[in-house]
């Protein structure tokens, strides 16, 4: 706390001191006195102004920076890798509390330095403009293909066409020309989302939604112009399009996003398309032999009342016993089926695990109380329109998800781009819980790991922050394990109060057993920081519930960015240590708890914690429990995503 008083007091005390000894001559006295008082007045004014300025600054800083509530970060020992023992998480001065940011800060002037920092180093994004849904991901002739909804004209949604990129490893991407544009009456108003199916002979077909010239949503068939081109540059639209139009009873604007097809026992291909009837989300189901003629089945794959329009439906099998993915057509014992939907009403992706009844093309959830749309989300942050594909190259099921921006469109248009894709994630059935899927960044991301910083058995006392000495903290892969003080766990008194990340006070709200975790994209003085953390709540019967949260409330001094706290309950089984993985890549944070059982993706836009000023810290804001953390932090290389180099003009 800066003491502003000395300046004022000094001048005041000066002013109140008796004036010097009397002077004999009268006229000069008056002059001298007036000069003296004149100077004094000026001096007082100046001192007052300086004093005010300093007190203003100190006031601002108190509100913006400093430690988490009741935490202190005054000169703790900077923790160096391969620790020489427990960290000195000291607490010296008294606690400092400040109010939650309530948006009374002036909207931040974004300068080019801040904006250009926001571009990621290893997440897929086009060179400029707007992107949304992932489309038709597939592996073919040695290349992973990725298509996406793209606006070639602006950094906002509109004029949608299909972008295209290829990669050998799902990480290093090369941009190719647009695959499909809005050049037919049946997709004039938008070449929207679709999926790929690989046929028996290895050929590929694409089914996608077109918004016609009359804004009717129809399904169209397209295929590569040249199957011998591994880059699949050119695409042909079936001349007889559309192959499907909205059936009776379905609104013209509620019929989109066809899935990858799977085989029935009769050898036909089966496809599902999301829609709604009033407020009930539904998945229509069709059989086809040639992708040109279809028969709609009488029933629905599934429906859930109150969930609204189902966009980007996905339907796929998972093995209950094996640690590999399954081709979309697989069915049989030891196999469960997942239905996933994107809820238009709330922009969140939900999934549920259940049983597929092949005969009549329906699916029943294992646990109707966590049915699709009302149960588990893929991601508790920003993650939408997700789509999986079966990677026959490495026998895994891989998930893509669209990550939008959470800043203003003014900023997006100023920086010239908007949206990212998540790092592709493998999907596995969580054998331990039986209700969750496990998502994990594809292993190829590890090829970007550069310098490794290791910290073992770091004890973080209740109410402390430990800086970690990592040279560059804007591109990181962090793997951490936490052990909480067992005595404190048992000692803590339980209560009936329910906890929710979203409505909590974030990382500043202290409980007996949490929050604790990491502060990423934090500057040295913690003016800006994004906590990624666990919070353990003890129920009145002594049961422990663990929550996993991302707190954006102080992630940036800017007021025109989202400041919510994301997160959810994460199942932690007996004898499991708390583990998390965090990918930090400039303005995106992807965080995974318990091996990917609960996942949160956030977009953050710091104004100071950027470039070299960004740091990473361990923190423990619990009131009673200490935690012991072991971490590996890798600094990550760029993926150098760029245009395909040897490409000829078409």
């Amino acid at each position: 706390m800066v003491d502003t008083n000395p300046f004022l007091q000094a001048s005041v005390s000066d002013g109140s001191d008796p004036i010097g000894p009397q002077v004999t001559r009268r006229k000069p006295i008056k002059e001298q006195l007036s000069i003296f008082f004149g100077l004094l007045a000026v001096g007082l004014c100046v001192a007052f102004l300086i004093g005010n300025n300093i007190s203003d600054n100190a006031h601002e800083h108190e509100n913006e920076c400093g430690s988490l509530a009741s935490l202190n970060s005054m000169k703790p020992e900077l923790l160096r890798p391969v620790s020489r023992g427990p960290a000195a998480g000291v607490s010296e001065k008294s606690n400092r509390f400040f109010a939650k940011v309530d948006g009374t800060f002036p909207a931040y002037p974004w300068n080019n330095s801040m904006l250009s920092w926001q571009r990621t180093a290893f997440h897929f994004q086009p060179e400029k403009n707007w992107m949304n849904d992932p489309n038709g991901p597939l592996f073919y002739k040695g290349w992973y293909h990725f298509f996406y909804q793209y606006n070639p004209n602006a950094a906002v949604w509109g004029d949608i066409v299909w972008g295209h990129a290829v990669s050998k490893d799902l990480i290093h991407w090369l941009h190719l020309p647009l695959a499909m544009v809005a050049d037919q009456w049946y997709d004039k108003n938008g070449v929207w989302t679709g999926s790929a199916t690989i046929l028996h002979d290895g050929k590929i077909i694409m089914l996608y939604t077109g918004s016609t010239a009359e804004a009717v949503q129809v399904q169209n068939l397209a295929y590569p112009a040249d199957h011998s081109d591994p880059l699949l540059i050119h695409w042909v639209k079936y001349p007889g399009n559309p192959v499907l139009v909205p059936p009776p009873g379905i609104d013209n604007k509620d019929f989109r996003d066809p899935t990858t097809a799977w085989l029935t026992s009769e050898g036909k291909w089966r496809v599902t398309i999301g829609s709604k009837i009033n407020k009930t989300g539904i998945a229509l189901i069709y059989d086809t032999k040639d992708f040109i003629n279809y028969e709609m089945l009488d029933g629905l794959l599934h429906a859930v009342p109150g969930t609204g329009m189902w966009e980007c439906v996905d339907f796929f099998p998972v093995s209950e016993t094996e640690e590999n993915g399954l081709d979309t057509s697989i069915n049989g014992p030891g196999v469960k089926h997942v239905v996933k939907v994107s809820l238009d009403d709330e922009r969140h992706d939900y999934y549920a695990i259940g049983t597929y009844l092949e005969k009549n093309g329906t699916w029943i959830p294992d646990q109707p109380e966590i049915d699709v749309g009302i149960g588990i989300r893929y991601d508790y942050g920003i993650f939408y329109a997700a789509k999986t594909f079966y990677d026959q190259n490495k026998k895994r099921r891989v998930l893509w998800g669209w990550i939008g921006e959470s800043d203003s469109e003014a900023a997006d248009t100023q920086k010239g781009w908007a949206s990212l894709q998540s790092i592709p994630r493998t999907i596995l059935f969580d054998q331990k819980t039986g209700t969750n899927l496990l998502q994990w960044p594809v292993e190829e991301i590890e090829s970007l790991r550069l310098k490794r910083n290791e910290f073992n058995q770091v004890k973080v006392q209740a109410g402390s922050v430990v800086p970690l000495n990592v040279a560059s903290a804007t591109q990181l892969d962090i793997i951490a394990e936490f052990e909480i003080d067992k005595e404190a766990l048992e000692r803590a008194t339980g209560s009936n109060v329910t906890f929710s990340c979203r409505t909590s006070g974030g990382a500043a709200e202290r409980g007996a057993l949490g929050p604790f975790g990491l502060l990423v994209l934090a500057d040295e003085r913690l003016c800006e920081r994004t906590p990624v953390y666990f919070y353990i709540a003890k129920g009145s019967h002594g049961n422990l519930n663990t929550f996993f949260c991302n707190d954006q409330s102080r992630s940036s001094a800017a007021s025109d960015v989202d400041k919510q706290i994301y997160g959810n309950f994460v199942p932690v089984l007996k004898d499991e240590t708390l583990s998390l993985r965090i990918l930090v890549d400039h303005s995106i944070i992807e965080s995974f708890a318990q091996g990917g059982r609960t996942v949160i993706t956030s977009r953050v836009y710091p104004t100071r914690a950027i470039y070299g000023a960004a740091k990473v810290f361990l923190f423990n804001n619990a009131t009673e429990a200490s935690v012991t953390a072991s971490l590996k932090i890798w600094e990550m290389n760029s993926a150098f995503i760029r245009s395909y180099p040897r490409h000829q003009k078409f």
Binding site: A107, S408, D560
Partner: protein, 181 residues
């Protein structure tokens, strides 16, 4: 007596004839559109602004919800364009550098509303992907907020009234588009 009775009967007959007619005319004037505007506006945060804005447009009385959303979006653009004109007018006369900075930032925010937010909303409504419209119009309200915040340290906010209209109307239209989801 007879005369009085027949006169009374005539009176009663007349009143019964005219009563429904007058009610019918009232309904005709409102049309179905009138009721739809009211029921739709009840679901928005600023009912009066919503009703007066939609009723002021000739398309209002016969529009469905998507049509009302379209009218609303057009009105947001209209108000934003007018407000932008006010801002640029103030900018030419402004001398104080801090005031100029605040006004210039507001120009950026209003350009975002006019060039991006409203056109995206109109396209999203027309093509049946309303969620992008909801997001855009919420953004427009946020841009107006951002402009107001720029004047926090200024003695006065010269476009306060029109800025509030742009903000509130954007929020209203966002709620209407939400109904299309």
């Amino acid at each position: 007596m007879k005369n009085i009775i027949s006169f009374a009967l005539l009176q009663i007959a007349c009143s019964f004839t005219f009563l429904p007619v007058s009610q019918n005319s009232a309904l005709e004037l409102q049309g179905n559109g009138g009721n739809l505007i009211e029921t739709t506006c009840k679901k928005t945060p600023f009912y009066n602004l919503c009703v007066s804005t939609l009723q002021s447009d000739p398309r209002g009385s016969s529009a469905d919800v998507a049509g009302l959303a379209r009218i609303g979006a057009d009105k947001v653009k209209e108000k934003a364009t007018a407000t932008l004109g006010q801002i640029t007018g103030l900018l030419t006369g402004a001398k104080d550098p801090k005031l100029k900075m605040a006004l210039r930032d507001c120009v950026d925010y209003y350009n975002a509303i006019i060039k991006y937010d409203v056109p995206v909303a109109i396209e999203a409504i027309a093509k049946g992907n309303p969620k992008f419209g909801v997001q855009s119009l919420n953004d427009a309200a946020n841009e107006a907020d951002a402009c107001e915040r720029k004047f926090q340290n200024q003695p006065k906010f010269p476009i306060s009234d029109s800025n509030k209209v742009v903000h509130d109307l954007s929020a209203v239209v966002a709620s209407i588009v939400q109904l299309l989801l």
